[in-house]
Every structure is written in structure tokens, then in C-alpha cells.
Assembly symmetry: C2
Homo-oligomer: 122 residues x 2
DNA sequence: TCGAACCTTCACATACGTGTGAAGGTCTAC
DNA sequence: GTAGACCTTCACACGTATGTGAAGGTTCGA
């Protein structure tokens, strides 16, 4: 698949797809003419990357957690240094805290909306 | 409380506290000398704002959801226009999606870490 | 064979959160 | 009264994710 199709299927501009590649978040092989050629699994990968970016993670961190997300495990574990594992744990906890924060505030909004609806009903 | 104390109690630079005020996220009264004077509740407010910023929300959105977060309700509901309510619902759902994404990826990281530990144990 | 629609790289631009420093006013303690 | 610690506004700068456009090569259908 070429970049135009990937862009359409992920709702992402070509510019950003090239940027994600530059940041090491996706990879593309090249045809004889230099055009990028994407594996169909890249669609899910891009969607996942966008979700994480939208959740506030910078590309630098996303790149670090991507190896965890491949199923089945493509990476052989000996590659994982203790520092990498520590970073991952830290980042995992950070994500949990972010999620908690979001859910707490989501609940507050819901509660507020309920109160407003109640008010308007009377 | 003046800006220095608030900065220390929230772990936030003075520069950012002024920025948050400029963005309408916190308010400060002014002493006769022009110094900002903060209510003690501002500490929690700043911490909440930082959590939301860290979770990827821009100040523009945070400003919109802040009225939901005051307890007890300081805002009288008639102020809430239908458009505001729609925006809030939308943003609430967006936050839920972000949280989901984070939790899903947190789980994937945990799983990966478990697998690595298992590998290293053998 | 020509034009449209795709692709390439390169580069400049913007919004946003944040850092930093200048130039100057205020307060407190010695 | 002066030194130091606080405050003020203003402005320039940076990193990151993104937009946009130029200049040019490729592919494909009429």
C-alpha cells in the first residue's frame, strides 16, 4: 500500500505519516521508484500511534513502548536492557496516572451534566 | 498566598502560573502593590490543571471543563448554553476514549514486562 | 503523448506549553 | 538606607506535532 491509501485509511495526512516514519514509529519499504510501500498491519499501528499521541505521549516515549505492542512477540527479550525495563515500568505507571486523572474528570463532567439536566427538568 | 508560595506548593514555575492565569485557568486577586494573591483552593486547582495538561488536553478545553469541577456548584446552571453542554459531552467522551487507550496500552506493557521477567527467570 | 493524480525531498510556518532573562518596583531585616 | 528576596511586565527562544507549498519525478488513463 502506498502513502495515499494509508493516509485515507487512517485519517492521517501524508505529511504526518512521513513524520512518524522519521520518528521511528512506523516503517516502510521502498519500491524501485522510491515510493513508500506499507504493510497492511501499518494501518493498525498508525491508529495506535495516533491514540497515544492524542493521549499526550510524545513520539519519543511512544517509540519506546512500541516493542511491547507487537503480537506475537517479534522482539527477542535479551534485547531489553534493565534501563529499558525501568523506563517501561515508569511509563506504564505514568499512563495509569493519566488514565485515572481522565476518568476522574470524566466522572465530574458527567455529574455536572446530570445536575444541569435535573435543573432544566424542574 | 503569593505566587512564590503557590509555585512551591504545586511544583509549578511562576512563569507557568502566570500563563495559566492568562489562559483563564486560575484567578488571582491583586494586592495594593500589584502582587497576585491566591486563594488556598488554588493549590488543588493548579494540580488538577497540570494533570489534565499532562493527559494531553489543551488549555482551551481545560478552561471549558473547569466549571464542572467546582464543588459545591458555584455556577448557576442557566449560564450553560446548549452548545456548551454538547461540547462538554463530546469532550467527556473523548476523555473516556483517551483513558481507554492508555489503559489498553498500560496492560500491554505490563504483559510484556511479565513475559520478559518470565524469560529471564528461566 | 498529454494531463491528472500520485509520489519524492526540502523548507518555511504555526500553535502551544514552557524556559529564561531583562528592567524595574516592593518589602523586610540588619 | 541598603542588600536581598520577592514581585511585576515584556519579550525572545525552544521543542513538538502539525500545516503548506515548492520543485520535481512516476504512473496511468484518454
Amino acid at each position: 500500500m502506498r502513502i495515499g491509501e494509508l493516509a485515507e485509511r487512517t485519517g492521517t495526512s501524508r505529511r504526518l505519516l512521513r513524520y512518524y516514519e522519521e520518528q521511528g514509529l512506523i516503517i516502510a519499504s521502498r519500491g524501485a521508484n522510491g515510493y513508500r510501500d506499507y504493510d497492511s498491519a501499518t494501518v493498525d499501528r498508525v491508529i495506535q500511534v495516533r491514540g497515544l499521541l492524542d493521549a499526550g505521549l510524545p513520539t519519543r516515549i511512544i517509540k519506546q513502548i512500541l516493542p511491547c505492542l507487537d503480537k506475537p512477540r517479534a522482539i527477542y527479550f535479551p534485547d531489553a536492557t534493565p534501563e529499558m525495563l525501568a523506563t517501561l515500568e515508569e511509563e506504564r505507571d505514568r499512563m495509569a496516572r493519566r488514565a485515572e486523572c481522565l476518568l476522574r474528570n470524566r466522572d465530574a463532567i458527567s455529574e455536572y451534566l446530570d445536575a444541569v439536566r435535573e435543573y432544566n427538568r424542574v
